[in-house]
């Protein structure tokens, strides 16, 4: 992937961060370290971001992030894939997205908890 394509991709990731902060995306948590968002379409697609542990070298961050853009017409092969391992800028952007989603879901869960508590008389 060329640097201009990477820059364009990072712009889209940045857009995902903003729309997540604005609460416009309903992220799901299919497992403890993965978030996914599926469009209701058309076009139908899905974005998946996953945090993975990395222990190869002590100089590397202990985790990495993998972003996949899926198209049902392509099966399980991602149409777009981005990993933070080789590029620090990509890593930081994916980490920002992941933490924004985690924070957004955590906020919604806390709001739900608060909503079911008995209201003080």
């Amino acid at each position: 992937m060329s640097s201009s394509e990477t820059a364009e991709l990072l712009g889209y990731v940045d857009q995902l961060v903003r729309t997540t902060r604005d609460g416009l995306i309903q992220w799901q948590r299919p497992n403890p370290t993965t978030f996914s968002w599926s469009t209701q379409g058309p076009p139908i697609g899905a974005v998946v971001i996953q945090r993975v542990e990395r222990r190869r070298l002590p100089t590397m961050p202990p985790e990495d992030y993998v972003l996949q853009v899926l198209d049902p017409q392509y099966g399980t092969s991602p149409r777009v894939m981005l990993e933070g391992e080789k590029d620090r800028v990509v890593f930081e952007k994916l980490k920002e997205l992941y933490e924004t989603i985690a924070s957004s879901i955590s906020r919604k869960n806390l709001d739900f908890f608060r909503s079911i508590l008995p209201k003080p008389g």
């Binding site: 497992n31 403890p32 996914s36 998946v48 993975v52 542990e53 222990r55 190869r56 996949q68 899926l70």
Partner: protein
């Protein structure tokens, strides 16, 4: 003859015998030769006994080491099989498959290496292997589906989470394999030196 004269004569004979040095008597030399011969036979017997004991001990050691070599080779074969299984990790790995694979290799590896856990030659490699197995269990737990029926919605998640821990296990297995093979070779050299 006067009885007293007879006794005196007998005493004289006895004194005559006692005055002769004992070494001029053939009985002395006969008994000495027999004693020396007996001692020689005893020493020879002792030497042969020691030699027989040493040979028996060497044979026992060789048999034990041969048995150990066969055991190490069996372990090496098992480790190679496990390594080959880990090499074939596919991207479409599902959580249940990864869990079953990890359970199986974990059980087999622990069983194979546990007899050597306190052996200084293997200790570090076995500790590293156990840590790698623990890391793989942690990684697998991090992708346990919240809804198993929706697992396919996030393809490759299990692979991305577990590929590195499985690779680490495979590296540890390769290290152990090398150590076991080295031990087998050492036994051979040791035998030659003996």
């Amino acid at each position: 003859m006067d009885p007293l004269t007879g006794d005196v004569q007998t005493l004289r004979d006895v004194l005559q015998i006692l005055r002769q040095p004992f070494w001029v008597q053939p009985g002395f030399w006969l008994s000495t030769m027999l004693s020396i011969g007996g001692a020689g036979v005893s020493i020879a017997g002792l030497v042969f006994s020691v030699k027989a004991f040493r040979e028996a001990r060497r044979a026992k050691r060789a048999a034990t080491e041969a048995g150990r070599t066969v055991k190490l080779q069996t372990i090496a074969i098992e480790l190679t099989e496990i390594s080959q299984r880990l090499d074939k990790l596919k991207m479409e790995l599902m959580f249940n498959e990864a869990r079953d694979l990890l359970s199986e290799i974990s059980r087999r590896l622990r069983r194979v290496v546990s007899p050597f856990a306190e052996d200084e030659s293997f200790k570090a490699a076995i500790t590293a292997l156990r840590e790698a197995l623990k890391a793989a269990q942690d990684a697998l737990r991090s992708v346990q589906p919240t809804d198993p029926s929706q697992e396919a919605a996030v393809p490759h998640a299990v692979y991305y989470a577990t590929q590195e821990p499985f690779a680490l296990i495979n590296n540890c297995v390769a290290d152990l394999l090398g150590l076991f093979e080295k031990q087998t070779m050492d036994l051979g050299e040791h035998d030659v030196q003996q």
